[in-house]
Amino acid sequence: MTNPGPMICPFCGPRDAGEFRYGGDPKAARPAFGSSDAEWAGYLYVRENARGVAKEYWVHSQGCGQWLIAERDTVTHVIQRISEATA
């Protein structure tokens, strides 16, 4: 859930924001086999958690189902850019 007002899906256009769900932090790669416990802890638990513009996964769960990457301001909730999440 975010602020009311439409969110723009690159596939479906402006849609009610309630159709979208936050899907996590687009992460750095998984640590290599044999990495230290601290590296694993960083990967598993430490979040960027920026105050300001953040890169985030979103999914248009009640629309086309597509995973997206949004650049969203975590203070104003304004989405500056949103595009398809590619692997």
Partner: protein, 422 residues
Amino acid sequence: MTAARRKPRYSALALLREGLRGQSGWGPAWRSPEPKRRYDAVIIGGGGHGLSAAYHLAKDHGVTNVLVIEKAWLGGGNTGRNTTIIRSNYFNRESQDLYDASLKLYEGLSRELNYNIMFSQRGSIELAHSAADMEGLRRVVNAMQVSGIESSLLSRDEVLAMVPLLDPSPNTRWPVVGAAIQRRAGVARHDAVAWGYARAADGFGVDIVQSCAVSGFLIQGGRVKGVETPFGLIEADVFGMAVAGASPEMARLAGFKLPLLCMTLQAMVSEPLKPCLNHVVASTPNGAYVSQSDKGELVIGGGLEHVPSFARRGDLRKTAEVLASVVEMFPAFSTLKLMRQWGGTVDTSPDNSPILGPSPVPNLYLNCGWGTGGFKAIPIGGKMLAHLMATGKHHALSAPFGLERFATGRLIDEAHAGVAHD
């Protein structure tokens, strides 16, 4: 020397005397001095945890050359935004020990601080709506009883007799089939907790500065030398941070990252009513909880908004969802008007347990990650931070809650500790 000796005591007699004197003799509850350049200890964050830490530094450890730095006003963060539920019904032994120690401190707090925090141990009831819910509650109640903490199960008839406004129909989406109760649990006056600690800490000589944000750290030789503020650099031997939703930012300023995610938790109150609800009543499956304040308002809370946010305002869709749940539980509340609604930025940790202990910077200590449930822990959280700052070592109660648990994998999972583990 006790705080009470340094401050004019609040009492019925003082009230009478001031009534006769035209209320002319009440001094300020705490001073607002200009901060000095240097202290023995500096605490960042004037919420409940920071103020409690200052009090315990002075009282438990005799460290009184202390500064509390608050960006806005005392208790204006989550401490002043929360639904004030105080309970210790957690599953893991480490959590039970920590939260029950806090509950015990709350039981004596009004007297200890000479400040009425209005702690009302009216009992907290967690509803079950299915046999599976009941099993879940039985598991927690058993775990608590094993640890010697009072808690018990209620049958459907018992809970409906205690809370007659609950919908008794077996045909609702969430029929009441039973409950768990912790009778020592309750609610307190949030501002009074912050103000009471501030007044008592001030009585020991602790300085408190408001409207003063820490904007950076001066780190020399791997240690914090001072914090940057509008008053310039303020130095100390040891630092503690208790800034809740600002913890990731504060950590970044000190050069490290924390396993926290900040999101919005909201709460709301109805118009005031005559007394109609004698307990705190929560339904985790239904996603809402409610109690009645001394002013008569229904104080309502629900689950987290699962989106990273620092906005400190609740999404109205969540408001509607929580209110729908309350009305489902209490049909008689459906005609009430909502008076206020607000949000706070809560710093949630991966296992829903707080982070207490050293930070990666040796003389900076952490008190954060309380997320949605740290009001109940203000007495103990402050005491633990004070212990860490004064001795450089963990207290036995805080030892399991260090930052290193995320690397060792020894998490203290309280993911199911309540609606939003309020």
